[in-house]
Symmetry: C2
Subunit: 351 residues, 2 copies
């Protein structure tokens, strides 16, 4: 019977090591978005589903929407503090806490989506982002691009800089600071009250996202001028990961998590491109009077000037921000030439 | 001792089922490309590395470059016949065998890369591609986009349709048929002899890919006119998978394989965008006399007309091709409006 005991022992040892490799890791993720905000919430959800499938159930990520955790703009703090293992959000929301996180979402007159992905993955952008987030003990990864965001809905046509002076507009964040420099009266109104405010002329204009997300808000029913984008040419969402959580995962689950984030980010960009096309077609069919407008050169030049002044002020205060902006600028100078030769000149002859 | 035997039996049963879930699957993949053709070969290689990492070694894919299997344009047959489990190639190489496979790479004056990914993944394009390939018992997936390919290198400036008449140009495939309709003397020359042919004026012009892949060929040293793209606005490579091989994989390895292909495809697009920008910068620095040109409206209109005539002829012969082209056309009509409002109008003010 001695032999049998030896076999039993060895078999148990082997089975236990195989069991260990089958251990289930349960993580939780908080999003800035509500559960119906497509495609932003979808990106987080798709990532979690993919991670579970790739790991054959060994990596399970529970996704909490903002209505669950009640802290849509507290994601960085919650992931940092370990209340959540992961977050899905946008880097520029931490501008007030850490100005150097701003450029990883999008900068006015900055990189387009393919340019920005090239910067993140093939030109050092991701490494810069990790460096900025390291002080928070958080890892940060691209989480999906909206592509070009529209410049917003206006009740009246904006022909000159004078038309902007005193105009009441809802446009938050850095773009709002630029608009304020041009004399716009920038206001902040909760999303749920925006439609009524625009309808009752409490505001004259507002910026939201683009057709895919604007359509549900209904702004196209009451404001006929839809201006093209300048301030967020490729807003990239971010996945945040608590570093201690990440370090405790086995190597293959780390790779699975990174892969699931990277793929769901690209997919969100493509999904939103499709959703924008579809939503725009619907809007235009229902409201054929909507006019797509581009701000005049006079206005664009004033915006560019204000943008540069604000960037210079911020850069003086933060060498870390300056490093990121300079890095982006140098890359844009190089890659924009290619965008011009390829996408731009191709589209020019085919629109 | 009865109890011990029972434990031994159950433990062995459990261990054997765990072992089964750890079984290693070894597949092989043939590429159309040589081992140094970046980023095309990289996409296949990166896919294989990623699949192995995600599966913790359970899915191992050996990648053979064209110099190994000696059949760069025989990939479909080899995957169909089971000689290889997978292939990495481009769908339009089977135009002669199965005309309906043509539009899944790129069509002249067709979809751009983000538009095409949206079509594949969110508008039924992938399902159409699987339907076309089903008769070959092969699965087909996007394998990476080159983005806009350039129109080629010309020794003399092309100002009118007359300048094209009798011009000796290397431009293969469907684009070559269009050029032939315009009076171009289309020739086929092996890649290794192209530089010499252009240098010695055996040909007046040639089409290759774009800066990232053209730079090694050296054409920019001897032909100063670099024309922008029209014939391959977003050439998507394809992964082919033998259906029997795929069906035999466990569910989680199928998901891992599909994920690895999808991610490495997106990555190739972004990698090539970066490589194009870098290569173009180098070319221009070394040869500042290179002039980027766009074909005149007269020439473009003639190309578009020839393109439409050829498409109509092919569609009459193949209802299956017609179905794919009509589907693409309808989608392009919708999504191009969004590309115009977003990427095009943004770039217009920022180049």
């Amino acid at each position: 019977m001695k032999l049998n005991f030896r076999i039993l022992f060895l078999t148990l040892l082997l089975a236990s090591s195989l069991f260990a490799s089958q251990k289930v890791y349960k993580l939780n993720l908080a999003t800035t978005w509500g559960p119906t905000l497509s495609p932003l919430f979808d990106a987080a959800k798709n990532m979690a589903v993919l991670a579970e499938e790739l790991s054959n159930g060994r990596l399970q990520i529970k996704v909490d929407a903002a209505n669950k955790h009640k802290s849509p703009l507290g994601i960085l703090d919650m992931v940092k503090g370990g209340q959540y293992d992961l977050g899905h959000t946008a880097s520029y929301y931490w501008k007030g806490k850490d100005i150097a996180t701003l450029p990883f979402t999008s900068m006015p007159f900055g990189l387009t989506a393919p340019e920005q992905y090239a910067w993140f993955y093939y030109a050092g952008g991701l490494e810069l982002m990790q460096k900025v987030y390291a002080k928070h003990k958080v890892l940060s990864f691209p989480g999906g691009s909206t592509g070009v965001q529209m410049g917003g809905w206006f009740k009246k046509e904006i022909k000159s800089l004078d038309d902007l002076k005193g105009l009441k507009m809802r446009i938050p964040g850095f773009a709002g600071e630029i608009m304020a420099k041009l004399g716009v009266q920038v206001t902040n109104i909760a999303p749920g009250e925006l439609y009524t405010a625009l309808d009752r002329n409490s505001i004259d204009a507002l910026e939201w996202v683009g057709p895919s997300m604007d359509i549900k808000m209904g702004f196209h029913k009451i404001a006929p001028y839809y201006y093209t984008g300048w301030h967020e040419p490729a807003s990239e969402m971010q996945f945040l990961v608590n570093k201690r959580t990440f370090d405790k995962l086995p190597k293959d689950l780390q790779k699975i998590l990174i892969t699931a984030m990277r793929l769901s980010a690209y997919d969100m960009y493509v999904q939103n491109y499709d959703m924008n096309a579809t939503a725009w077609q619907e809007m235009k069919k229902e409201y054929p009077n909507i006019q797509v407008k581009t701000f005049s050169k006079e206005i664009m030049d004033a915006m560019k000037k204000a943008n540069q002044e604000l960037r210079d002020e911020m850069s003086k205060k933060s060498p870390e921000l300056k490093e990121v902006l300079d890095h982006q600028d140098a890359y844009m100078k190089k890659i924009r030439e290619w965008s011009k030769m390829s996408d731009y000149l191709y589209l020019k002859d085919n629109i």
